[in-house]
Symmetry: C2
Subunit: 308 residues, 2 copies
Amino acid sequence: MKSIKILAPATVANIVCGFDILGLALNHPQDEMEMRCIDKPIITIHHTDDFNLPLVPEQNVAGAALLALINEYPNKNIGFELIINKIIKPGSGLGSSAASSAGAVAGANYLLNNYFGKTDLIRFAMNGEKVASGVKHADNIAPCIYGGVTLVRSTSNLDIIPLTAPPMYVTVVHPQIEVKTSDARQILRKEVLLKDAIQQWGNIAGLVAGFLQNDYELISRSLEDVIIEPIRSILIPGFDEIKKQCKEVGVIGGGISGSGPSVFMFSKDETTANLAEQIMKAIYNKIGINYYTYVTTINKDGVKITDC
Amino acid sequence: MKSIKILAPATVANIVCGFDILGLALNHPQDEMEMRCIDKPIITIHHTDDFNLPLVPEQNVAGAALLALINEYPNKNIGFELIINKIIKPGSGLGSSAASSAGAVAGANYLLNNYFGKTDLIRFAMNGEKVASGVKHADNIAPCIYGGVTLVRSTSNLDIIPLTAPPMYVTVVHPQIEVKTSDARQILRKEVLLKDAIQQWGNIAGLVAGFLQNDYELISRSLEDVIIEPIRSILIPGFDEIKKQCKEVGVIGGGISGSGPSVFMFSKDETTANLAEQIMKAIYNKIGINYYTYVTTINKDGVKITDC
């Protein structure tokens, strides 16, 4: 049976004010996978990377997503062999688990002649997120599958809205500290002040309007989070300084990527994006924390599949 | 000195899920005013309607708005004579106070050769809202001045974003019961569950995207309020039944207008809008509450001024 190669992009969830509903895909980094369909009800997963991720399908994010897909496929005599080379580091806040699960189900669907729709794939892949963080969220999976910027209007009655956005550079720094998604969720308050919620949904509405109207100034003013960032940013050394210095050199805005620890900044041009990278490097060099940086753009296509 | 005539439209604030940030103007009803500028620092207000509104400028919403405008105008030797015929009933939830204050400052600015910008006018008119309800909110004033649908991204650093929207009919019923804006605010909880806030901002993002992308289906799915409506609708007899029956005949969606008691429904066509009106009439006839109904469209122009 034929083999395919899969590229699954990193994603930035939340986009500052859109906690649990907004996300976007990046052109770099991307996970690499190889996959083939077999006529036995077995899933085998092999990792060529060094992250020691679980290989039992139920415990592996890609495996859990594939099990959900197979469960709804009429022919029960199918299985998949999957080789994953994770480039997106687990725990980076760049949608590593989403890339594995979204890449796996998108690849499987390609091998099954696109039997399922995109919303189905997101639904299956959410089982991978459940394995990774205990919560079936879709804000990384949706942009990973659709590409571009996506809105998850509803998770319970899954409703994904792809949004257009003007061209932007994205500078990302991934400081090598551990912030578990489950921990980053637990420190959030269960209740928020109504007045803060109103300010937040004003910004979310502004950000969506800014994306759709190609209004960089409006995007910039709307990239403000009064609910999640003040709490989560405590877990990320250097965060306030990165934001302050990047604003000074003219970035559009930015904040925590997903639940962190990665931090991202939007820029209109490559020069500013590179300046933001230099700032991030200088700050973590000074603090003495190792890091990776990426200067990239918004990925318009989502998971990419090619025949071997 | 020259006299002008002013038409100031009714407005629907919140638009279901956008509490305190979204609003739209209606073509019907509209307040009527006549105004002239005088060279004495005096504001005189005369009401030709029967609502017994206060005539002392500091206590009258139009007066308070004009005082704020005069306060920032360099020539202190100016004043205004204003005759107001309120067509929009105070306490209807249709932006009656906003029409008075926005109409007055827009008229004054016309007489002062547009010395001020629109954002200034909104800022001045918010003083009228303070008189009316104790809170300087802009979600009725902004659409009254701009027309169409508006987003108040921020009230503290006033940031108004006009939004395009597809053509829609608006059916409104104003049951003759009293719901004071200040009471309708006080019954709200000061804190909301984060999970409800997330659902709400998913809907707000969806509604803004639906407006800008002319997507009636998305608008319909997004017209859901899990925070304010469940509490405020208790004050409006027949609310749930209106919503249920209107949905059955195919309205796009709707809810409480501002803080109520008026209820509005969007429709794609006039036939459905008229059906919604019949439903509203039948329900209040059965309950035995007097009412006014309006079948109208979105007003694109805001306050309209003509020379006498």
